[in-house]
């Protein structure tokens, strides 16, 4: 009969105790991080330890393999990289839509429509002021109030134009602050690179740096809101990150290549996507703000042209009522060219016919252009809000799947805790049993006739 160590059983139970304790440690780590953003639950992976080959002393052939207990093979992270890719894709859409919708809502609020203080109401009052002048063409009071109302219309146009410009400037400033060296993107990339380095070192020494990987994934999630992120595993634990349509990978191992030029142009997949794309679409030449300003210029230009055309026909010299600057700056440059004394209300003394004709412009091109402008902004804002809520729902759904996979379930942890605790207790009991056996062997055996 081959020899097995007397203390063999003690070793086996000790392994059991240590493994269960390790699993309990993981459980408590999970519980502690139940509310940590970006944390993935971990598992202690048990495997039975290498068996003891029991041999026949004389012939050296294996008689049996004897179990030696349990080992913790690794601490694994429960994470599905395909869900991560889906999440980042949706998060990019959400970042783009929510930025667009925020910006349009801001522009929309500046319109103050429909209300009694918006440009539409101001124009209505302007036409009424002309009608009042038509009734009493020689009254200075009527003329003065016409000029005042015209100035209000002009100021409202100026203010709308500058609010649009502000929206573009804000978008541009935010874009710059995100992309500049030392900005949000740069910082995230630097952190990803240094995590890459740390993870690579840990992996090469056979470790599983689960928590560092969680941190890196969280940074990638954050980055995905700003633009399209694609990740390539480099095999040594570190990753390569491509961002937007940047030519070179922004992170490769421990190397960061940033800032880079983003074109933000063209349909996917050549676009940067995300918040950066949305911001760029707002402020770029020919972008949202530019096209809205062109519409507003159309309103100002229609107003000036239609009023001037009639105003010019009266009076000795033919004076413009409104003066406007170069094409493309009408809304910003429109001003009232006359004062109460030089307003032309009649072609002959006192008839007020010119004023009456101008009053008849109510509901004409200027009003129609403005109404189209407001409807356009309204539709754009409505569309962006709808897309934002769709994107939000999709992000929530993907995130739910992710949480379902990687999140910490208290019920599960509690069950595991009970399970490992019981296993620990049982291992301890097995050790006591071994102890009793040894007690009999050591203390009681061979004592004869005492």
């Amino acid at each position: 009969m081959p020899a097995i160590s007397t203390f063999f059983g003690l070793e086996t139970t000790l392994r059991g105790l240590m493994a269960q304790q390790g699993a309990l440690d993981v459980t408590s780590h999970n519980i502690a991080n139940a509310n940590t953003i970006g944390y993935s639950r971990q598992q202690a992976v048990f495997t039975s330890s290498d068996p003891l080959q029991v041999t026949d002393g004389a012939r050296l052939s294996t008689l049996a393999s004897m179990g030696t207990g349990v080992d913790i093979q690794s601490y694994s992270r429960v994470r599905d990289q395909f869900l991560d890719a889906q999440y980042r894709g949706q998060n990019m859409v959400l970042g783009q839509q929510s930025t667009t919708s925020d910006s349009l809502n801001q522009i929309e609020a500046a319109l103050q429509e429909p209300s009694s203080s918006g440009l539409s109401a101001q124009l209505a009052k302007f036409w009424s002021a002309w009608s009042n002048v038509a009734q009493d063409a020689t009254s200075n009071a009527g003329r003065q109030s016409l000029v005042d109302q015209a100035n209000t219309v002009v100021e409202t146009l100026h203010s709308l134009d500058s609010q649009l410009t502000d929206a573009a400037n804000q978008a541009s400033a935010e874009y710059t602050s995100l992309t500049q060296p030392g900005g949000d993107i740069d910082q995230s990339l630097q952190q990803i690179a240094s995590l890459n380095k740390a993870i690579q070192t840990a992996v090469s020494s056979g470790d599983h740096p689960n928590d560092l990987m969680d941190k890196r994934d969280q940074l990638l999630d954050k980055l995905s809101e700003l633009g399209q992120v694609s990740v390539t595993d480099l095999g040594d634990g570190s990753i390569q990150v491509n961002f937007g349509d940047a030519a070179t990978p922004v992170v490769s191992g421990a190397t960061v290549t940033w800032p880079q030029t983003l074109n933000n142009a063209g349909p996917p997949p050549t676009t940067s996507g995300g918040k950066l794309q949305a911001l760029n679409d707002i402020f770029k030449t020919g972008g949202t703000v530019d096209s809205l300003r062109a519409d507003l210029n159309g309103v100002a230009s229609a107003l000036a042209t239609s009023v001037n055309a009639i105003h010019n026909t009266g009076g000795p010299t033919g004076v413009d009522f409104f003066s406007v600057g170069a094409a493309g700056t009408e809304a910003a440059s429109i001003s009232v060219n006359v004062n109460y004394a030089t307003v032309v209300a009649s072609s002959a003394t006192g008839t007020g016919d010119i004023a009456a004709q101008i009053a008849n412009l109510r509901g004409g091109t200027a009003d129609a252009n403005y109404s189209t402008f407001v409807t356009r902004i309204g539709s754009m804002a409505q569309d962006a809000t709808r897309k934002e809520s769709t994107a939000q729902a999709l992000v929530n759904s993907v995130d739910s799947s992710r949480q379902s996979n990687s999140g910490v379930s208290m019920d599960e942890e509690m069950t595991n805790m009970v399970k490992f605790q019981r296993a620990y207790q049982a291992s301890a009991r097995a050790m006591s049993t071994m102890d009793e056996l040894l007690d009999i062997l050591i203390n009681r055996t061979g004592k004869v006739g005492l």
Binding site: A137, T138, T349, T385, N396
Partner: protein
């Protein structure tokens, strides 16, 4: 494999549902407090454009109504003034008939002539009436009094012009509201057949005392005065017609205003009953969601382990 439900999923779902409900609640609340169905263009872009055009036509209608009321006041004042001129002309005719009687001596004819001169001044004074700072009988030259009151026959000349004063009372509809002084009372030039020059002629004929002039008083002057008074009557008739037209325009405009207001209200105002019901339903949903959330988030196996 059945879905694994984790605590963070539950709390996230509860939170996002709560946010959703409270978002809707706040939108309904905004509708309630503003009384508006459309508080910003994106609530309903096409409704907004409809509301803008309706409120523009409402403002236009109200402006037309103000114009009509102003024009009505103008024609009413014209009518009152012409009535008073008419009374003065009637008195002059009575005096003329009385003076035509040869039993009246030179002295009494001269006294009658004095009274007729007074009547001329009173008629000119009436014609110089102003509405809102504008002389209503001066044509379009409303800053100029149509006649100079007092003094000699040389001051009888009409000072205004013959242009019409028009009021726009609807899209593309305008009416002349003024009555030209010279067409009713004459240009003040002897022989134009106008009331003032006829009366001035009568006064001269009364004073001259010749037989021929006395005959003229009975014949030509009387018929001239009658024709001037006919002219006055027809001017009053025209003015009355304008006044009627304004009054029917006013009725029509107030109907349009009413229907536009109700259309606008349908478009942009919140249906309070419906919004209130929505609000209380959403409130109930919100409260149940809160209660359910509180219960779901609390429970775990932890509560049952000793």
């Amino acid at each position: 494999m059945s879905t694994r439900i984790t605590q963070s999923m539950v709390s996230r779902n509860v939170l996002s549902d709560l946010q959703d409900v409270s978002n809707r609640l706040s939108q309904t609340q905004e509708k309630l407090s503003s009384g508006r169905e459309i508080t910003k263009p994106s609530d309903n872009p096409f409704g907004t454009s409809k509301a803008l055009s309706l409120s523009n036509s409402l403002e236009a209608t109200q402006q037309y109504e103000r114009t009509v009321s102003d024009a009505t006041a103008w024609t009413n004042l014209t009518e009152t003034t012409l009535g008073s001129v008419s009374d003065a002309a009637q008195r002059a005719r009575e005096l003329l008939v009385q003076a035509g009687n040869d039993t009246n001596g030179t002295t009494s004819r001269s006294a009658i002539a004095d009274e007729i001169d007074q009547l001329i001044d009173s008629i000119k004074g009436d014609a110089n009436v102003k509405y809102g700072g504008q002389y209503i009988f001066s044509g379009a030259n409303t800053t100029q009094a149509p006649y100079v009151v007092g003094g000699s026959p040389a001051n009888d000349a009409y000072q205004g012009d013959t242009n019409g004063v028009f009021r726009t009372i609807g899209p593309g509809v305008s009416v002349q509201v003024n009555t030209i002084g010279s067409s009713v009372l004459g240009s003040g030039v002897p022989g134009d057949g106008g009331l003032i020059s006829v009366l001035r002629g009568i006064s001269q004929h009364l004073r001259s005392g010749t037989t021929a002039d006395a005959d003229t008083l009975r014949t030509t002057d009387l018929s001239s005065l009658d024709s001037a008074m006919d002219n006055l009557t027809s001017a009053r008739a025209v003015n009355g017609a304008t006044s009627n037209r304004l009054s029917s325009a006013s009725d029509r405009l107030s109907q349009i205003e009413q229907s536009t207001t109700s259309l606008l209200s349908d478009t942009q105002d919140a249906d309070m009953a419906k919004t209130m019901i929505d609000f209380s339903m959403q409130q109930t949903v919100y409260q149940s969601a809160l209660r359910a959330g509180a219960n779901i988030v609390q429970a775990s196996l932890l509560d049952f382990l000793s």
